[in-house]
Amino acid sequence: MTFWEYVGSRHEQLLADTYQHASAVFQCMVVATLIGVAIGVLTYRSEWAGNLAVTATATVLTVPSLALIGLLIPVTGLGVAPTVTALVLYGLLPIVRNAIVGLRGVDPSLVDAATGIGMSRFARLFRVELPLAWPPILTGIRVATQMLMGIAAIAAYASGPGLGNEIFRGISSLGSANALNQVLAGTLGIIVLALLFDAAYVLIGRLTIPRGIRA
């Protein structure tokens, strides 16, 4: 059976896996973005808190993904829970780091002007600082998404959803007729997804970065 025949015969299963993969990454990215930006907002003003946040999230990233998921299974059980936890944790670092760098990089004279014309802290954050820090934050989100695409495949080890199942199935049946096709289909699916997501981010950047600060 050639690769294309394999894809043709299993397209329903493949599409379902692809959809689940994309959906898992997307949802985890939304959660990671909210948490990551929140951490950035809470810590960027203080030198040590900001550095602590970056170091902590960086430490998470040094744990091998297989090990982290393995460690999570006794805590969260199998399936979706360890997948989501692991993906969110891995997604945090680029977002937290870029949020802190972006927020700290806002021209102090603009912050002074915002306060000086009578903006409250809240208004200053949401109308001046975050919009100006948004381009680097978006870059962080993009990097995190690409990383999660690959890590999400490992989640199949804990019976998580997604294209990882295809790859693991192939690896466990090495030597059989479809083993290579399964691994290849899973891998290519992830690459295609990653490219599609990236294209989506370019579009989001176009739509959400104001013209005045677009490069």
Partner: protein
Amino acid sequence: MPEPTPAPSGASPGAATAGKPAGKPSGATIELENLTKRYPGNPTPAVDCVNMEIKAGELVVFVGPSGCGKTTTMKMINRLIEPTSGRIRIDDEDVTDMDPVKLRRKIGYAIQSSGLFPHMTVAQNIALVPRMTGWPKGRTDARVEEMLDLVGLDPGEFRGRYPRQLSGGQQQRVGVARALAADPPVLLMDEPFGAVDPITRDHLQDELIRLQHELHKTIVFVTHDFDEAIKLGDRIAVLRERSHIAQFDTPEAILTNPADDFVSGFVGAGAALKRLNLTRVRDVEIVDVPTATVDDPLQSIFDKLRAGTTNEVLLLDRHRRPYKWLRRGDLMRARGSLARAGTLVHDTVTRDATLRDALEAVLTDNAGRVAVTGRRGEYEGVVDMETLMNSVHELLEEDRLDAVEHQHRLEEQRSQQTRQEQEGMPPGEPEDLS
């Protein structure tokens, strides 16, 4: 009030009267009382016990060397920096403890490098404060147009632009427009023209003077450029380290009668020359000289030259604009041809020109005089070296007398205050005007 005449601030063309603009001030008074700022870990205060009264509608310039605390003092007025002790009163209302966000919406704030938000359009930037204070959209939009007009930018062209699409001078104008958008009675300006080129700066200063003539806000303007202070200020506060007031007076008084060596050092050389910048040609005597037009018959010109007390005649062209100076011998030498005789008029000044410009023109003229012209360039009279010298002498003398009188009054006031304090209040009141 027998104040020495406030600064003419007269660079605005068409302001016929020197002195305080006649209109009702829309500004508010500002009173600083024993205002002090200490930073933790620093034994000497950054700002030490500033006492100051700023009148409604007055443009006061804080000037001093860098690090003297002038910006800190200004930022305490809108409490961007919280004072450690002392009171701030705006229009007799104590604002030292009011909600700083509410306070700042009533105080315009313009800073160096404009402080415009780059992700918002010009219109959005200007609309910020009105929208925060809850103006309806229609009124805000109308106000944005009005403000752009006021600072000399075409609303149709500039409304939708982003700050980076503007020149430095234009950004600064928008910055001023944003500061004025909610019509605050008080405007704080922190070296707003520090980052633009000298020509644009000059232009923006003229614009500010014009604006102030229309609006009569109370403006506190911080700069380290003494010439800018002289040009703009109704009164100037020369500050030394820890924001101690070395002298707080009109530009004239500071130029002619600096309180101490620090002030005279800061005024720099050429105080008399700088004084010339504060007076306009309209304020000095303009003399008349015999004139003739190019259409006059030669014979009448000859007669004028012979009969006149001076030995020259100013020849005017058909629009009565100064054209040539004719001396007695010129016509003879040119064999009666007007086209060849005499010396062309190079330079003229208007009545709005400063005496400094006039002096410049007089000095470059080989006979030491310059023609004064009206709006369409028509002849109005002549200013010469003698007139200039006399006027300057008179001005300086007047300033000096004013300053002496002013000082007397201050001393009297102070001794009275001391008496009151000795009788009533406990001692230990901090020194002011040190």
